[in-house]
């Protein structure tokens, strides 16, 4: 438990989850499943700051694991081993990404998307601005709930979601006007106040993540 995950740039953290998910279809036999699960558990244990968050993630990932395993047993020939592999494959698909996502510094995501991945600057900046409105969306949701409660009306999620969307689009209009008043409309070539740096840890974890994701495929090829 080195806490390395807390020092990685957002793209590397996204890559951990994406590579794990992309590599998961190669998990087709029990030995390969156990190998992949073990390596990811070791990798996560070595890099997280504490066991609590990965454990929480495991708790939520158990639901889709159970659902996939059981349905595979029921609808895929009632073979216990195939079902178990399907459950473990879902673990590889979901768990590493769920853990890594918890450490993403959302505020820096736009910087990295624009500077490292060359995503168009105005789009990356709009995304950054929107991402820090999540707290506002929750607050609006609570206010909608309160006013319905006060008015003795049913709190239908559908009607509240609609009101949230109306509020969101109006807020987007106000935000656009404010952003354009600060030169956003004509920002052809934006610069960025903070650099998107890649440390040695970023690079080595990225390489490790790719290797871990390739492991099931490699084992599969060797065993044939």
């Amino acid at each position: 438990m080195t806490g390395l995950l807390t020092r990685l740039n957002p793209l590397v953290l996204l890559a951990i989850g994406l590579t794990a998910a992309l590599g998961s279809p190669a998990v087709r036999t029990l030995p390969i499943a156990l190998a992949a699960v073990t390596t990811y558990v070791v990798f996560v244990v070595l890099t997280v700051p504490s066991w609590r968050y990965p454990a929480l993630c495991l708790a939520v990932v158990l639901l889709p694991m159970a659902s996939v395993a059981w349905s595979t047993w029921l609808l895929g020939g009632r073979d216990a081993e195939v079902a178990a592999v399907a459950g473990l494959r879902t673990f590889v698909l979901a768990w590493p990404g769920a853990v890594a996502a918890g450490y993403i510094d959302v505020a820096r995501l736009g910087d990295y998307l624009a500077q490292s991945l060359r995503v168009p600057g105005r789009f990356a900046a709009a995304l950054s601005a929107a991402l820090q409105r999540v707290a506002g969306a929750w607050r609006t949701w609570h206010d909608l709930e309160r006013s319905r409660r006060a008015r003795a009306l049913p709190r239908r999620p559908w009607s509240m979601a609609f009101a949230l969307l109306v509020h969101t689009i109006r807020d987007a209009t106000r935000t656009s006007i404010a952003m354009d008043a600060r030169g956003f409309a004509s920002a052809g070539r934006r610069t960025w106040a903070e650099p998107a740096t890649w440390t040695r840890s970023d690079v080595s974890v990225l390489v490790t993540a790719v290797l871990l994701a390739l492991l099931p495929t490699a084992l599969h090829l060797i065993s044939h």
């Binding site: 195939v82 399907a86 969306a137 969307l165 109306v166 689009i169």
Partner: protein
């Protein structure tokens, strides 16, 4: 100053910001829906799992709505993808990890493709339903490969069928009705969709 004169490809600030903020709002909605859906899904798995796909169209609505509201190339894809990103990174977030982002990409591509085929000129109910349906077809193929690879073909086809119907109705027709209500509430006055 007439919006009919502005091109269909150039993004105004409000287009970019609305896509991003709609994506965030849908991400929060998806996050809440996901907590409920996990339980429904598990319940369905005990009974008849492919039927759970009947509700899965909900996951596709962000792309259809983004495409119908903003009406620019890439709007549907970007809205769905951002919604997926947000529902993934809300703390204690998703039970599906980064797979959510892949789903969002695939679903967004499906929805986008229909708008593209109509050259970003048609935004009526049939187009919306096709968009939802194709997003569902793409999503179903993704899930075959990544989730349900060992299911017998019959069940996979059932899953595809249920998913497509759900995409057609919930994401397509539902998304279209949602956009119409938004327009009636005056929320879309800055968009061509105000006339819908």
């Amino acid at each position: 100053m007439n919006s009919a004169l502005t091109s269909t490809t150039r993004y105004r600030t409000i287009d970019l910001v609305t896509i991003a903020m709609l994506g965030v709002a849908f991400g929060v909605i998806f996050w809440g829906w996901g907590k409920l859906y996990d339980v429904i899904d598990l319940g369905a798995a005990v009974g008849f799992k492919p039927a759970a796909a009947l509700l899965a169209g909900m996951w596709l609505i962000a792309g259809v709505v983004g495409g119908l509201v903003v009406r620019r190339p890439g709007a549907a894809l970007a809205t769905e993808l951002i919604a997926a990103l947000v529902s993934m990174i809300v703390l204690g977030g998703t039970s599906w990890g980064a797979s959510v982002l892949l789903s969002g990409l695939v679903q967004g591509l499906g929805a986008e493709l229909v708008f593209a085929v109509f050259l970003y000129r048609r935004y009526d109910l049939p187009t919306a339903m096709l968009s939802g349906a194709l997003a569902a077809v793409f999503a179903a193929f993704y899930e075959w490969k990544y989730y349900f690879v060992d299911w017998d073909l019959t069940w996979r086809l059932a899953h595809l069928g249920f998913f497509t119907v759900s995409g057609l109705l919930i994401a397509g027709a539902g998304g279209w009705l949602l956009v119409r209500s938004l327009a009636r509430a005056g929320a879309l006055d800055s968009f061509p969709a105000r006339r819908s």
